[in-house]
Symmetry: C2
């Protein structure tokens, strides 16, 4: 039996590259996605398109009422995603404890599946300044995972893999091209138009566009503004 990997999959570029990276290692793929009240529901359609390009063992979509917790422009209809560039403050699109919550659920599924690897597409180079994207966070979660679970206690330990951690956006895009990722299927925008055009000005769009530019490639998705 192949080793199994649970892969957090959002529909964005980074997690698509992550899923391909796990596939390239010969791991059996168990992507997990969340319907969490996010503004950008197109995410899940993009995730489906990415899943369809790979031999996935099972794709799990969990409903998660994070909008009841509130506190983020991504899930609260009364807050507007910020249009300012990434800076050294944490932006309004930060969802409280989101990666902790997603990894905790991925951990539960991984334990059930007897999968010892969990992939997450965080990176701390060209990122939005969220605290739960930093290497120290990934290390702390790995430690927790092995204290929290039956598998961690009695069998082989869990590893949380963040293969994009130290890569720039341009390097992630180049790695994706090398692994065969079809970036036209991925979506990054926090605030897309109803007919699925990326806004071109939110933090996620800016990072994506700058990454393609630095990689010397054209972004294959469509934008509302050039």
């Amino acid at each position: 039996m192949n080793r199994r990997a649970v892969v957090l999959l959002s529909g964005g570029m980074d997690s698509a590259v992550c899923l391909h990276a796990a596939h390239a290692e010969g791991l059996e793929l168990y992507p997990i996605s969340f319907r969490y009240g996010q503004r950008h529901q197109q995410e899940l359609e993009a995730a489906k398109a990415v899943v369809d390009t790979l031999p996935v063992a099972r794709w799990l979509i969990l409903d998660l009422p994070l909008d009841q917790i509130g506190g983020s422009a991504l899930t609260d209809p009364n807050l507007i995603p910020c249009k300012s560039g990434p800076g050294d403050t944490i932006p309004a699109t930060y969802v409280p404890a989101r990666n902790t919550i997603f990894l905790a659920l991925a951990l539960g599924w991984a334990e059930t599946l007897n999968a010892s690897e969990i992939f997450i597409g965080v990176n701390a180079v060209d990122y939005s300044g969220y605290p739960d994207c930093r290497p120290a966070f990934v290390e702390a979660f790995t430690r927790l995972a092995n204290l929290a679970t039956r598998a961690g206690v009695s069998e082989h330990p869990f590893t949380v893999r963040a293969p994009l951690q130290t890569l720039s956006k341009a390097e992630i895009i180049r790695l994706g091209v090398q692994l065969g990722v079809d970036f036209s299927l991925t979506r990054s925008c926090y605030d897309p138009t109803p007919d699925d055009l990326a806004c071109g000005s939110c933090d996620a769009c800016r990072l994506r566009l700058a990454g393609f530019q630095a990689a010397g490639l054209a972004d294959p998705i469509r934008y509302a503004q050039a």
Copy 2:
């Protein structure tokens, strides 16, 4: 403004004592409960009864499809909760990564509320042998919480409080009596009868009954078998 505490509340004895302990410290109470496909849905009715006895600022119930993750006798209709006594193996009622998942969601809410304390009723003396009840788990989560969040990074740190951690079941019951907990409202059984009688033989019932006996008190709830 009073300090705020998010308190994991299940409807069992331990979390009821925890909620009262937070109240006794003068904290503003934000209990959080989960509808997670558990067999013992009476839990949430018990949680409501406990909430009604205290000045709670807001009670949040989150729907969480843990049954889709599987792997536990508590959520899987094809598995039967074990009737053996607690031993040194982890029982079938263990829900993969449950406390990690619950704490992660509590953390998200706490960050939104600007609450810096999270209470959890775990104890590692008279317990069922779940790995995510041990002090090392609670410490690892606290460390993670402060790396994972905006509040942990930029403001006052989070504290995960486990006031029952080193108490025996009898000591928890005595503390509860002292704090005014009405134990007749609480429910512990993993497999209650349809008319809400505790089975008397699952791990949770055994621990509860032994605790009352050791405390020299009568358990005020009704059992299917004496």
